[in-house]
Symmetry: C2
Subunit: 379 residues, 2 copies
């Protein structure tokens, strides 16, 4: 098979309440003057991709069918989950936020031709495809000596972690809290904060994860599974003065515990008089992920000056504008092999991505476990 | 007893984990040149007063002691509740946000003397007192023919309900949702919205409450105890386009249900393309009360563009500034006997306020039940 057609991973949720993952052959579009065709060789499976890939499906009901070359996975979507899926029902969707590869065909413009043979990264969607036709302006040419695997995660995690420290500053906070902090993203955020001199309170879910972060030089690491968790967290918040948190967990009690610990730390600081409505210091938790899909359970013991809300990279970039986005993007390219280096536990092909054992592994979203898809691995 | 001393209601939470409510004799301060002494004759028990009055105490453990003239109420504060109480422990605090009464003594300035004999309202705190010394600038002189009972609730409910429609406009929404909507405040908000042509979705917790609001001319009333609640709410949100809610309940699932219903209504409108992150329309719930003290349980099925946070009158007034605050205040005075009229189920003296049966009744915060304290009723 040449560049004319390529395999593409598709996700479909049927009105009947069934998720179907499959591979389809799609013709590669002929590039327009300002477009290029990229042979995708590396695309990470980010938590944000998983949200689209499996939606509200219950993977314990997963069934494999199809053939070796064209595997099909099906799973049931519980009725309660279908409401949130309404807008995507019966629409077969390509997937894969970001990735990198080599330009194998170009349009007629000089800018397009200049990219021939270059390794480029992009955040164009549909990256779990063998070939992607992209605008020149969508391509981020990587420095010589950078492999597609090294450049695959140029956007989501690097810009998200930079977005967190930017948001912290813009909203008037001076230190921050991060949950699921041993994740790829969390490790990146640690490197940024160490480099930029920002106090970061890392919340992890095991002693082993705490060790990973301490090994990276993290100063404040608290383990939510420890019996002294709340006391440890309050102590770290007293020391750092953090009043903003970014939470990848979403479900369960953690977001509320953070707000309560912030308020306790503010009261301990003795800087604020008692008010029946709690301190007047604004306490913010942004939920940017959903590692725990259970409801968010907030025990309100922190007064009235608080907010919990969603945080998403693209609206954030829209808000800060083009110049500031470009500044963040340039920093990522400059520090791609240091601050923003990503690590993967396994590289899979498109067919391997639909192997039930692999799917079960990456859908668990376990910390430290990160898959990279190489759509051209089988070729 | 003359004006020299007066009874004052006090609330105290002891380090031992005990709430104590009592009456104490306090000397009335001699008014300074720009101050007056007000004989308080009417002070409402608002939900916000109850938060300070009983704190985290468990009223099922309530004990009455003391004498007929100096009753004392005690109750246990569960250990889990003591953390939030830390800042007020062992401090005997006066109470009563707002009230009205008659000026019985004045300072030497012309402005103070001009108030002699006038009925004034104030939001000065410690209003559950027989006498309050207030600055002239704290007093809102009421129009002739207004009784203290009519002016007692000039501030909290009127400015809070006006603050909701102001917040709605300032944050770019065009219609709003209100919970516990049959409350005194909710009825006020209905009158404001009807007058100002704002679509208001009223969420109530019984068919009887729905009737109260329909009787006031409310167009959108949905009952959260109805089996068709979610469908009814979504239908009302499709019609009104409301994307901001003010929630007095706080605990349980309601805040999350509102966000989910908003997202469903936005999707039904067909105006926004599908995104894996949900619609890009900002959905806001402000929690301004805690009628349900259980944790807030949010089932996140509404994408990433959302926020739940605390809303409080005074920070809001600080934010909008003096001129806009004055504009709202003037509207309240102008419409005190119409839009902003309050209704009370019972008028009690200070000793009656500490009668266990009364305390149990008003602490229930039942919709439609509202107590007014007349500290000089026994005299």
């Amino acid at each position: 098979m040449g560049v004319e057609t390529g395999l593409q991973l598709r996700t479909l949720i049927k009105r009947s309440g069934e998720l179907e993952l499959s591979l389809v052959d799609v013709p590669t579009p002929e590039p327009g003057p300002d477009e290029v065709v990229v042979r995708i060789e590396a695309a990470p499976i980010n938590p944000s991709d998983l949200g689209l890939l499996v939606g509200a499906a219950d993977l314990s009901t997963m069934q494999a069918s199809g053939t070796k070359d064209r595997p099909v996975i099906t799973a049931k979507v519980p009725e309660a989950g279908m409401r949130a899926m309404a807008a995507r029902v019966d629409e077969s969707m390509p997937i894969g936020n970001e990735g990198a590869g080599v330009v194998v065909k170009t349009g007629s413009s000089d800018a397009a031709k200049a990219l021939m043979g270059r390794t480029v990264a992009a955040i164009g969607g549909a990256m779990y495809s063998q070939y992607r036709c992209l605008k020149v302006s969508e391509c981020l040419p990587l420095p010589a000596g950078t492999t597609p695997a090294e450049g695959a995660s140029c956007f989501v995690n690097p810009l998200t972690s930079l977005g967190m420290t930017e948001t912290m500053r813009r909203e008037g906070h001076t230190a921050l809290v991060h949950t699921a902090a041993a994740s790829n993203l969390g490790q990146m955020l640690n490197k940024i904060c160490l480099k930029d001199g920002i106090a970061l309170v890392n919340i992890v879910r095991s002693a082993a994860q705490a060790e990973i972060l301490r090994g990276l030089g993290a100063k404040y690491v608290v383990d939510s599974t420890s019996p002294t968790f709340m006391d440890d967290l309050i102590a770290a918040l007293v020391e750092t003065g953090a009043t903003i948190a970014f939470d990848a967990i979403g479900g369960g009690k953690l977001a509320g515990q953070i707000l309560n610990a912030m308020e306790a730390a503010i009261n301990k600081s003795g800087k604020h008089p008692y008010s029946r409505y709690g301190s007047n210091v604004h306490k913010q938790v942004y939920i940017y992920g959903g590692l725990d899909t259970r409801p968010t359970e907030i025990t309100r013991g922190f007064g009235m000056t608080w907010s919990v809300g969603g945080w998403l990279l693209f609206p954030f970039l829209m808000k800060i504008g083009k110049a500031d986005t470009e500044r963040l993007r340039q920093r990522v390219v400059d520090e791609l092999k240091t601050t923003f280096a990503s690590h993967y536990t396994k590289v899979v092909s498109l067919t391997e991505a639909l192997d039930p054992a692999n799917l079960a592994a990456y859908a668990k979203r376990a910390t430290g476990e990160k898959f990279l898809i190489d759509p051209n691995k089988d070729k």
